[in-house]
């Protein structure tokens, strides 16, 4: 089965050049954009033959979406009062405006950068160039990633210099939802040697998105398309948490790509609740000896939501560790596609790699697909394994909780939320953690609806 290239109307070479002109970008960045556009046009939307069956873009109306051509700074955005309690910095972009930008003084003093490409290109272009030039911070075989490379109209750089241990997370918040509009961005995160940082990314419905009337017509779709491009130097540590709660009419595409240097540590905690269609691909490249990645990802879908979640983990250096866990809960007609590929290259002696994909289907029309793949060229491993399961809620557990006085519905809910808790527990800001917990609880159908679902399943 061959998949055609993406047909978008906003990530061609002419678009790329036009955007670069708007921002008066240096020639190396123009070359980046043009190269990206070329890779979008020349490749099928899914280049990995393993996964072609499970790419379903039928609900996405690219033709009805016009991405913003540029992004501006809203009045009063640069205000220290915008900084959430406990955070080290915030950059909040809503539709085509930066609406909040602030940083704690100590972070500022330590040389931490949280700013748009536009500003950084004027002051310290090398910080961006050293991470992204030549397309090294994105998978070249993924046209979705290349769309952002070609056509992003906002870029965010997070830089934590060597040796800095930053207390409190850097908050990146994105809001979209205006009908027919889209925001395409890139986020580059570079963490210096032995530095330690936390990033919390929140993807939410914008004011426009929230106030939009519920309407089933397809031209209400809005789009978010972005990247997270991470470069961890020797001994660096990054905790990255992501919460995705876009509105129902939003379609979203995200590529997250991390390159880990020697003894670097990356911990992902990612939760997806919103968006009608959500595609995510994560690439972990364990290049440095002794580097390690831990990734926990959950998806909770209802109605007709489709979560298309792919993760590639490539072990290159010696004694690297990969520990990946994906969990999904699906209601109504929601679908989850969990695609994973662990590659252990010949050089990766002493690898320890595990990939787990677990799903709970709560209604008969829900669907879960898991493709947990392994490609192994080096047998001298500590571990190379994957595990996957799909099952209904354990009746024994329900019985136990009911014997403790919970109603059947409350018991089911407690079990499902407990299943997802490992990600929730790792969200860094107490407020954000409570927010995610509330989001997941809200997703649980009212007791009456659950009883109906239960009956349908019986």
């Amino acid at each position: 089965m061959s998949v055609p290239p993406l047909k978008l109307g906003f990530a061609g070479e002419a678009d790329a050049r036009s955007i670069a002109r708007t921002f008066k970008e240096p020639s190396w960045l123009v070359d980046e954009r043009v190269a990206g556009a070329g890779l979008v046009a020349s490749q099928p939307a899914e280049t990995n033959q393993l996964f072609t069956t499970y790419l379903d873009l039928r609900t996405v109306r690219f033709g009805a979406i016009q991405p913003y051509a540029q992004t501006g700074l809203a009045e009063g955005a640069r205000d220290a009062s915008r900084l959430p309690a406990g955070a080290a910095a915030i950059l909040h972009i809503e539709e085509d405006q930066v609406v909040a930008q602030a940083m704690r003084d100590d972070a500022w003093a330590a040389g931490v950068v949280v700013d748009t490409f536009e500003n950084v290109l004027l002051s310290r272009p090398g910080l961006i160039r050293s991470v992204i030039e030549g397309g090294r911070s994105l998978p070249d075989n993924d046209p979705f990633a290349q769309v952002a490379r070609a056509a992003a109209t906002v870029g965010v750089l997070v830089h934590v210099p060597a040796g800095v241990e930053l207390d409190g997370p850097i908050v990146l918040r994105w809001g979209v939802g205006a009908a027919g509009r889209g925001l395409i961005g890139r986020t580059v995160i570079s963490i210096g040697e032995r530095a330690h940082a936390k990033v919390l990314e929140e993807q939410v419905a914008s004011g426009a998105g929230r106030s939009a009337p519920v309407d089933s017509s397809t031209d209400r779709q809005s789009l978010w398309w972005g990247t997270t491009e991470i470069d961890l130097a020797r001994g660096a540590t990054l905790d990255f948490s992501g919460e995705q709660d876009f509105g129902d009419e939003t379609v979203a595409f995200v590529n997250r790509h991390a390159t880990l240097g020697r003894d670097a540590t990356l911990r992902w905690a990612l939760a997806s609740v919103g968006a009608g269609f959500f595609r995510s691909r994560i690439d972990n490249r364990l290049v440095g000896q002794g580097s390690s990645v831990r990734q926990v990802e959950i998806g909770f879908g209802d109605r007709a939501q489709l979560f298309d979640l792919t993760s590639y983990t490539t072990h290159i250096g010696e004694d690297t560790t990969g520990d990946l866990l994906s969990k999904g809960v699906f209601l109504d007609r929601a679908r989850g596609y969990f695609k994973g590929l662990i590659s252990i290259e010949r050089s990766a002696i002493g690898t320890d790699s595990f990939l787990g994909e677990f799903a709970m289907l709560l209604t008969r029309k829900a669907r879960s697909v898991a493709v947990p793949s392994l490609e192994i060229d080096q047998p001298n491993v500590r571990r190379a394994a994957h595990s996957s399961s799909v099952g209904p809620i354990d009746e024994g557990q329900i019985f136990y909780l009911m014997s403790r006085g919970l109603s059947r519905d409350a018991a089911r809910k407690a079990i499902v939320l407990g299943f997802l808790e490992p990600v929730v527990a790792r969200i860094p800001l107490p407020e954000a953690q409570a927010g995610l917990r509330a989001l997941l609880e809200a997703k649980w159908p009212a007791p009456g609806a659950a009883a109906v679902a239960d009956k349908a399943a019986a």
Partner: protein, 468 residues
């Protein structure tokens, strides 16, 4: 505990690789055209519907692109293949009538011996036609049919037409289309209601003749409440240029029946072995594929079971050994289409000497298939760091009360295990052999004893010198 020097590879395969210079009574020209297909059909005096079936398949074969999800198939040169050859004029019923030269080949394969011992019947395929066939008298009395597929088309036209091509239609994939266009030979089995075939039915398949394609077609129908065990094993002489084996096997397990289909595939390392094997399992039936692949240059084969009736059970054990220059792209598929069906897939693979083994599997629970219980287990051993092991499982669940578990591990034999066995007096090679045999035991224990011995011998042969 020092090791004396020993050959790195002690390949005794040549002992089994013999080639007789036969005079073929009829040999089709190389290459595939519409005329080739018409010629094959005419030579076999087939009814018109079969000719039409072949032509439909041929048209589809031309249109269908080469699969891209596995590599190396583009090396097959379809124009170099001889699509039909017939070594003797008619199907033989008595051993005495079999031409001496062919008989000699079978003697070396040990067929008559095996038959004397315990086999119920023998259908041996020598190149493209069934030349020898016997069914024990008591089985004939029970109404069991075991004959060449070509012959069955003539003798049981109604039964044949009712089921042929219904499990694997020509349009299923490029190679099922090719087989449907040029098929020749293979086994036809029918077991009437309630009949329990007490001993395994065995067919030996061989390829002989350089660049001969072998396109056997097997159809097994097991009626209600009946049971049968069918065994096939393969050997082939070694040639320098590519050979092609493209088979289709269709199994129909009617309600409450039991079918076990066992394969030991040991084609020589120049053969492309591209096989579509599929069973339909009806109410409360039980279907098992026991499938081992040690030979061939490239095997692409995923024995499949479509669970169509309530309560049906599927069991697939898949074993693959991939050595130098080999790629075993094998696996299993269980498609749950009915409620309360169960399936179990166990895959064991070994890669060594730069070989590659890929497990590819599909587990699907379709809407309506409630109460499914399914499990998949894939284990891979890599004996050196020149080799490669892949696992590609597809798990697609569309019912909320499914219970599915999947596990996979890849690794090498631990030094601790080897050390322990060596401390008990085994050589390094013996220790490794023992561990490998234990690893594959889930498969060997399902084989009839004589096959198990033969298979263990084969594995031992493959392993010799693997530690270097």
């Amino acid at each position: 505990m020092t090791q004396t020097a020993k050959p790195v590879v002690n390949d005794r395969r040549a002992e089994y690789a013999f080639h007789d210079d036969l005079i073929y009574l009829h040999e089709a020209k190389r290459g595939l055209t519409r005329a080739t297909v018409e010629e094959i059909s005419a030579l076999k005096n087939e009814p018109d519907w079969m000719l039409q079936f072949r032509l439909r398949a041929y048209e589809h074969f031309l249109k269908r692109p080469m699969p891209m999800w596995t590599d190396g198939l583009d090396k097959i040169d379809f124009d170099k293949i001889v699509y039909y050859r017939k070594p003797s004029e008619r199907e033989e019923r008595s051993w005495d009538d079999v031409p001496d030269q062919i008989k000699d080949t079978f003697e070396r394969l040990g067929i008559p011996e095996a038959e004397r011992k315990f086999l119920s019947g023998v259908g041996a395929q020598y190149d493209s036609e069934v030349v020898y066939h016997s069914v024990k008298e008591e089985l004939s009395k029970l109404g069991v049919v075991f004959m060449g597929t070509d012959q069955a088309l003539i003798e049981y036209p109604d039964l044949f037409r009712k089921y042929f091509g219904t499990i694997v239609p020509p349009e299923d994939n490029k190679f099922s289309a090719l087989n449907s266009a040029v098929w020749s030979g293979g086994s036809f089995v029918y077991v009437p209601p309630g009949v329990d075939v007490p001993l395994p039915l065995q067919a030996y398949f061989r390829i002989n003749g350089e660049n001969t394609g072998q396109f056997e077609r097997t159809l097994i129908i097991v009626d209600e409440g009946a049971s049968v065990h069918y065994i096939e094993g393969c050997t082939a002489p070694i040639y320098a240029t590519e050979s092609l084996h493209v088979a289709v096997v269709e199994v129909i397990a009617l309600p409450r029946s039991k079918v076990r289909y066992t394969t030991i595939q040991n084609w020589s390392n120049d053969v492309y072995n591209l096989v579509t094997k599929r069973a339909h399992a009806y109410e409360d039936s039980n279907v098992e594929w026991i499938d081992a692949n040690t030979g061939s240059r490239k095997t692409v084969k995923y024995p499949s079971i479509y669970l169509r009736g309530r309560g049906a059970n599927a069991d697939i054990i898949s074993v693959a050994v991939g050595g130098k220059g080999q790629h075993q792209d094998t696996g299993a598929k269980a498609i749950h289409l009915a409620p309360d069906t169960t399936s179990r897939i166990v895959s064991k693979s070994i890669s060594k000497d730069g070989g590659r083994v890929s497990y590819r599997g599909h587990l699907k629970v379709a809407p309506g298939a409630t109460g499914v219980v399914a499990s998949v287990r894939c284990d891979a051993l890599m004996l050196d760091d020149m080799s490669r092991s892949d696992t590609y499982p597809y798990i697609d669940i569309q019912e909320d009360d499914t219970t599915m578990t999947h596990e996979a591990t890849v690794g090498r034999i631990s030094a601790d295990q080897i050390f322990y066995l060596m401390s008990r007096g085994l050589t390094e090679n013996e220790a490794q052999n023992l561990i490998v045999q234990g690893f594959l035991e889930v498969f060997t224990k399902e084989l009839p004893m004589e096959y198990a011995i033969e298979f263990n011998r084969l594995v031992k042969m493959e392993m010799e010198g693997a530690l270097g």
